[in-house]
Symmetry: D2
């Protein structure tokens, strides 16, 4: 009777990561959903057959922290170029943060972003909403418009970027409490960029006055205390208001310890860190200056190493890339004055190989890596069990990776529109290169080549309660 059955896609000869382990067999997909995980000999006939050549097949990466900024600064990259990069990096779902022009603080603005994304994206996506203190009446409305979470910044818009930060900032402690209360009512998570802007701006002003604008001053102007104090404060404000809080891109072990303690005491709090805080130290900043500039800055080697304890003990919930394309010119300005350089790097393509190389090196286990890269973000932002896991019934979002062949990173090989500036890891030898990427059963990358026809295949995702 089942002779009749033919499916859309089959991956065979794979090491499928399912149920917490690698399984030798394959996956069958129909209508975008995994319909079978089974031994090769049980795989049905299929329109398309991929031979995994005994490589691991992992859940596609769910990247919870991406800045495409389209519409707005499309000269830096747009949904098409950056989701090509995503597919290239094994990312099958990304969460777009709300820095755009203007930020999506209302359903109408959000709709405009969706309109822009829809025809362009190669992979699936969901949106963060902007939560600020300026338009409290919009918070509930935008929550209902289908965002996965809110994001907010704790300072006034940087000079000249007013449009980009409108409705996105809780610029002082009073505003934060009000903003948190508003978000708490929606039941959604509030993600924060946790740096103390007063401390930073004062130091920058002072360094500027003293002519200290060289590479090291970026890190010196954003000392650990600026992150630590803010995390401590926001944990308290979150308890006070009942908001579910998530910390973006935490860079210091001290802040992680505070989050660990809050979790222990029963607070609902989430913690993201980024690959650059795990693999790069402030020595890289001294070396390449603006190209290693991000906020928060890279930290000392000693501090960096301590983060791995929190990776392994469960304190860190997920890894975000904080993918941030910029023009080369926006970075080069920093060569003479580090403070003028754009902050951020277009790194979405390397998260997966970096973390898998760490797996190879025994710094974490593969199951833990999959939790950090896919499952946890999907769970926390309401996309699980369709996303973040390989199991029958889930979306067929996966990536086949090569754990054996080392490759040397070069920004020349990146697909992001901003590849010119993506030089942070140049020369590093990694394993874990994505070979094939599928989104809901469609191959968006095969044999390392992204399919341009996949443009528009990506779908917008809505969180489940």
């Amino acid at each position: 009777m089942f002779l009749m059955v033919k499916v859309d896609l089959v991956v065979r000869n794979a090491q499928v990561f399912t149920g917490g382990e690698l399984f030798s067999g394959g996956i069958a997909v129909k209508n975008g959903t995994i319909v079978a995980i089974c031994r090769n000999e049980l795989l049905p006939d299929a329109e398309t057959v991929i031979d995994a050549e005994n490589n691991p097949v992992l859940p596609g990466v769910v990247d919870p922290h991406v800045h495409v900024r389209d519409p707005g600064h499309t000269e830096r990259g747009n949904f098409e170029t950056e989701t090509r990069a995503a597919a290239h990096g094994g990312v099958t779902t990304f969460l777009e943060h709300p820095i755009s022009c203007p930020p999506p603080y209302s359903p109408e603005i959000l709709e405009a972003r969706v309109k822009s994304a829809e025809p362009q994206c190669l992979v699936d996506y969901a949106f963060f909403g902007a939560a600020g203190a300026d338009f409290p009446q919009e918070v509930g409305r935008v929550a209902e418009a289908g965002i996965v979470a809110f994001k907010t910044f704790l300072h006034e818009a940087p000079e000249g970027r007013e449009e980009e930060f409108r409705g996105l900032t809780m610029a002082n402690d009073g505003a934060i409490l009000d903003g948190f209360k508003a978000v708490a009512k929606t039941g959604l998570i509030c993600t924060v960029h946790a740096e103390n802007n007063d401390i930073i701006q004062r130091l920058i002003q002072q360094f500027r006055k003293e002519g200290k604008v060289g590479f090291p001053y970026h890190a010196l102007s954003r000392p650990p205390i600026a992150e630590i104090e803010t995390v401590e404060k926001l944990l308290r404000f979150a308890r006070e208001t009942g908001v579910r809080i998530s910390f973006a891109h935490i860079s210091t072990p001290e802040a992680m310890e505070l989050v660990k303690q809050a979790k222990y005491e029963g607070q609902e709090v989430y913690l993201e860190t980024c690959p650059h805080y795990l693999f790069l130290s402030d020595e890289k900043l001294l070396e390449i200056g603006p190209f290693a500039k991000g906020n928060p800055p890279l930290r000392s080697k000693e501090s960096m190493k301590k983060l791995w304890d929190y990776i392994n003990d469960g304190t860190v919930d997920f890894i975000g890339s904080d993918h941030s394309p910029f023009l080369l010119s926006e970075k080069e300005k920093g060569l003479t004055d580090i403070f003028t350089a754009a902050a951020g790097s277009p790194c979405i393509e390397l998260t997966l190989p970096l973390m898998l190389t760490a797996v190879r090196d025994g710094r974490l286990t593969l199951p833990r890596a999959v939790e950090l890269l896919s499952e946890n973000a999907a769970r926390i932002f309401g996309l699980f069990p369709k996303k973040g896991v390989l199991r029958p019934g889930a979306d067929a979002d996966f990536v086949v990776v090569d754990m054996k062949t080392p490759f040397e990173v070069s920004n020349e090989n990146l697909l992001t529109h901003a590849k010119a500036i993506g030089v942070q890891y140049n020369g590093t030898k990694l394993v874990g290169r994505p070979l094939h990427t599928a989104v809901r059963g469609r191959m968006v990358m095969k044999d390392g080549v992204v399919d341009p026809e996949a443009k528009g295949w990506g779908q917008r995702l809505y969180p489940q309660k």
Copy 2:
């Protein structure tokens, strides 16, 4: 091409718990292993086909705490009778604790137990070794003989049970430190029955002297402090000696809080509780006396309720039944003097329905229940990923449960040899009755009827590092 494939067993029309969720489809099994989890229409032909009638299929229960006591007191039950009960309760793997005559403190004694179990067991099993201070030289030997962990008691053998406790006790604090050091060297977990025997014996003596031998005095003679203090001490001794420690049948929220804190501080420690501490309070002791007597005793309702916080926050690692068959006469003695009654109940058949009823009532989620009942014990005792999870590649150990039809518990319906005393839950209305149980692809129970032919099908398991 795959037309040729025919498997041994197929379960269809199921809600398969896999990848953290229920999936509508089925399971195919060959040579004892799951070879496919897939939509019904993709299931291969099979020798045996089970129609799950849209009921959930869960990983078989891994019960980490069972006392068959064979060889030794087979009048109370033997490996055959008690593993029939196991199969009846959806338990596909159990860990036999080392109370036997004599306890397995040496490879030779262990071998004798294995020999006894082999021809009898219907389900898979592994052994705890006995760790005591009397035969330190045997600790390393028995570890290498293939046990999953050690168990120890903290007091001299009870009068008249010297044989049963030989080599199983660390009878004072000096002995504990020595015993822990010996176990630490093996790398295996040391499981402890954590009650302060001095406190208890003194109270019993005193109550006896005062003629206080009625039902309530069982609980009063084993106050919470007897457990709390011992847990605090053993956590410290475990840190001092580097042993990996696991606490059996914890009954008080205060002890759980101590374990929670130790975990937070990075100590490797595991925590078991039992259904009776979650569902029965000391009111049951007042009602049925010896038949509700176990060690530790049932606690107050208020205390009982607090345990659920630790069920849900991750502090409790697994649920053990502490299944303990006794003769009716051994219990009835307690009707006139509670201190003379045997302690323990034959409850392996009800763990799963009790916990699934709690799922229905919203006290925990199904994924959390599966962790507590199957996955965590398998992981911690080295049986994962063959046991504890439904995924292609795992052993086909599963149980089909009926979540819809309520049933009333009666000890008459139990299969344990000690059914006469298994009256604790009589009259309780539960859901989650096991319909079919499979062990490595063989149906050991079908439609609620255990297959006597399955005797001897159970295999001994060895832990993986």
Copy 3:
């Protein structure tokens, strides 16, 4: 041979508080110093003899928190009027906080304040210096000019009070870190008014917008979190910079708990509270509005009661009056708009009777009261062992109090220039009225009557290392 000895002053028939207890006897004073504490029959001849009539003689109160504001707003009171009030209240030393026009952020400005105080004061005094972020270069200079500590505020000057707050504020977190670093170098304590101004200003704006300007809105605009968060932040900043920190007028048990914990962990931190937080709740604010307005505001009865735990367990270091004279018109404005009223009350005369009434009521012991009122502030601000204690060799600063005769408080009986607004405790029945007050052996009040001739007797004090 000792027949020749005649001293300046003798108090006889006293219960002298010395060595932690009351002693029946008397005190002999020469040249301002206590030369003997002895039984009556051993007291030498003296120019002046005071009969204490068996009343307690306590160390004069050392009030660490006073605002005379002279020079500046002398229409509210000046050093003469307010130190009359001090003498009347048994206060023999007060520490003047740096709100003046301008604040003493430089030695020159400080000198001007000293010049104003010198001819006027009836009791001894020392000055706080102003520490702000505006004149970092002055911090070291003013420290050397003989201040006991620094005081700072964490916000910009209130509108229209720019002059009063110049050089006195660390208006944002960056400024605080810089300011703390500067103070840390001096080795002096930095005292802070710990309220989160952003939270408060936002709430006030909002209430104003909504026309909510009635009495309750003063407390509602300054919620506990505004104090708690600031204390938590400043404790961290103090650890970061190494500054010795002291918290003025703490009003919430949560903030006290944070300080308790910091002390436990070894941080050098001091904690002041004021009588109004111990004896008045927000019900008083509802009753008399502006006349009960102070910053921080009065709290709930429940919260108020909890403060007494920290009084008794050693967390609170000293009691300050926060004596703040204002014009009646400055308070009356608040009758129609609470936000426009001046914040603070002229309460220096009642601290001692209030606390002694609490002693009578068993809320604290007399030795603890003396620590809180006299000894601790003297020790912490470098005035001990001349001040804060009755012992041979110390300054003869004392107050004879009547613990037996109850009296009813009426603002009519106050000596402060601002008596018109000092109505908070009107109608309360107290004991502990000061009968006689001596400063360095001179009676500045006798039989409840302040000696106007004592004007100018007060001396400026310098802290000892």
Copy 4:
């Protein structure tokens, strides 16, 4: 009028420690009580005049931990010989612990001890009662007979010392809980010797079996965990039973940390350490073996240094000498088998110089030393304000010390009957030698010479509530 006054004793030209500071002047005493502290020129005429030659006069030491063992082993020393030593060491009050034959567990036995002490003692004294689990009915009776506190041991009597330990032990955890409950009812403090006897006895047995009976094995048989675990347990048992607990002779920083934390959390708990734990490390044990043997044993140098943090942060409440005279033969046995040597040293004469030398060396302040040596024990055991402080109204118990002239310790100069074994500090250079000691105004030592006529001058003290 005051010409007539003549007192019994005057100390002139002194630095009197009073009110937390040294005061240049003198003390006048009448009927055993201080009637004046005043400048020299105000001192009255007196029967006896002592010229302190500008040396400090401190409150006499209150030694809370002394073992005279009279009646019982008077061959080791008796109340006369050992209180001569006390006077020689500046000790004016001592608390006799209840190891005698039999221990004072009943009023009748206590009375016998009092009878023995009365005609012999040169200094004042109070008694600990014995609290054991054997005679619970006596606990309340002996409490009312005027003891200052209870003492208990946590193990069976050592072999051959049954008589000495009768009624003095709570030999297992059940007995401790019962014993604590009994003491809790009396409201008195329960002092414990906190070592885990099971751990120790097991190690001793094992070392013996292996022939390891050399000097180091004393410390190795009583490892830090034996103290730490016991302190943790007893803190919990004290909370459980509500008893006020005091830990004798704590020797490890870990145990002190546990007590510090319990205090922070509000538990009433007291902590004693002894000079040998502060000044001697286990190197001394290696050097002189049995003569440095005590229980608990000397610890590592590193551990010893950490104790000073707890001396200074307030965790340690008082210093006890644990003065323990033995026969030379009882020590010499240990030269060939350390386990056979008596444990303890006769060190009451050196506590004060040792601590004052530490004051000179800046390891603690003089006021802190006086708290630890005199004031705190007096307060905690109900003897304050008559004892422990120099103030008018207090007993004239004082010691004049020479802080300037260094002296070298030699056991030849000791007065204890057990001087032959008091060699621990031989060769050490100290300051702080007691010159004159007075008890209730009578000089019991003058110019370093104890007055044999003072025999019987000592009075028994009763605690005040």
